[in-house]
């Protein structure tokens, strides 16, 4: 038993408190940033802040920082597969040209009634 108690890492409540305050501050920042016109950068800012928040949750609340290497490997593998899914599919879609020779996204006069089925 005593051997077990020594090996488990217990995160002190102070760290949890610091993390939750940071998360709340980041939430305020991301909401404020949404009302500032940054053009295309709005998405980048919003998703970057979300990723910082998610990383804090994974590392501290979910104890990933103190987990064995094996667990870290599973987490990284998961993120890697997700990256493949997102990157490969999106790179296909953003570079696509539709059947009328119009580049996606179609912003002018595009209607569902133009689809070949109707």
């Amino acid at each position: 038993m005593s051997e077990h108690e020594h090996s488990e890492h217990i995160v002190p409540p102070g760290i949890y408190l610091a993390i939750i305050i940071t998360l709340m501050v980041l939430t305020t920042v991301t909401v404020a940033a949404a009302f500032v016109n940054l053009g295309r950068l709005n998405i980048v800012v919003a998703l970057t802040i979300a990723t910082v928040k998610a990383t804090l949750v994974v590392l501290f609340f979910m104890h990933a920082k103190y987990s064995p290497k094996r667990t870290k490997l599973v987490i990284m593998a998961g993120i890697f597969w997700l990256a493949i899914l997102l990157f490969m599919t999106l790179s296909d879609y953003v570079s696509r040209i539709d059947y009328r020779g119009v580049r996606f996204p179609i912003s002018q006069n595009y209607s569902l009634s133009h689809s070949p089925r109707s």
């Binding site: 038993m1 051997e3 077990h4 108690e5 090996s7 488990e8 217990i10 995160v11 409540p13 949890y16 408190l17 993390i19 939750i20 998360l23 709340m24 939430t27 991301t30 909401v31 949404a34 009302f35 500032v36 709005n42 998405i43 919003a46 998703l47 802040i49 979300a50 998610a54 949750v57 994974v58 501290f60 609340f61 979910m62 987990s67 064995p68 094996r70 667990t71 599973v74 987490i75 593998a77 998961g78 993120i79 597969w81 997700l82 899914l85 997102l86 599919t89 999106l90 879609y93 953003v94 996606f104 996204p105 179609i106 912003s107 002018q108 006069n109 595009y110 209607s111 569902l112 009634s113």
Partner: protein, 245 residues
Amino acid sequence: MHRTGALYGQFNTLEQQKDTASLGMWIFLVTEVMFFGGIMLAYAINRHTYFHAFAVGSNTLSIQLGTINTGVLLASSFTMAMAVWSAQTGKQKLIPMFLTLTILLGFIFFGVKYVEYAQKFHHHLVPGRNFDITYCVNNPEKCEDIDAKDLNIERNEIEEAMQADPDLNAHAQLYYSAYFGMTGLHALHMVIGAGLLIWLLRGSLAGRFTPEWNTPVDIVGLYWHFVDIVWIYLFPLLYLIDRHK
């Protein structure tokens, strides 16, 4: 069936046994990442293709309610982390207290979600034959919960978007299908999480979790934090992108 801190035959130490349990949970969570990842990818592609309709759709969501819910969910993650800490340090009285707080915050989230969904039904923003993205703009007297200034901006936005996308209403339905699909699946995960928390609460009141054995608290904690992470991404994707500038 009551499992305690007994060491099963296939493990050398209790630590190894616990690490194995949490590894198993992480593998499950990775499958969940792929599940939600696929849905978010579908959302991203639709948003890319019908960005006028998706921008208009985003602006019909209530950012106040969304922000409140984000705060509530983050706070519930904190109380969950504290419940795990209480179990690890053997603070028997604190475990049920923090679990109750977590459940309570979860239910506040459901309450806000209910208000939000009800608002969408009243505003004719539920996909189906009565879906009408212009409903509030055309019937401001029926949408008194939106202030006139915002409705004016919305009217201009819709008119502008109609120029580029004549089928705005159909494409805005796609946005709302994604909204209800994504937030609905997230809420379903939270209902399951709340059920697990109630089960933990019973165990903690019976004094079942000790510093030597608290695997269920730890594992349910991982699940609850994961659900929080899903919301951390849903919030910017659905509410924040393309706000009125």
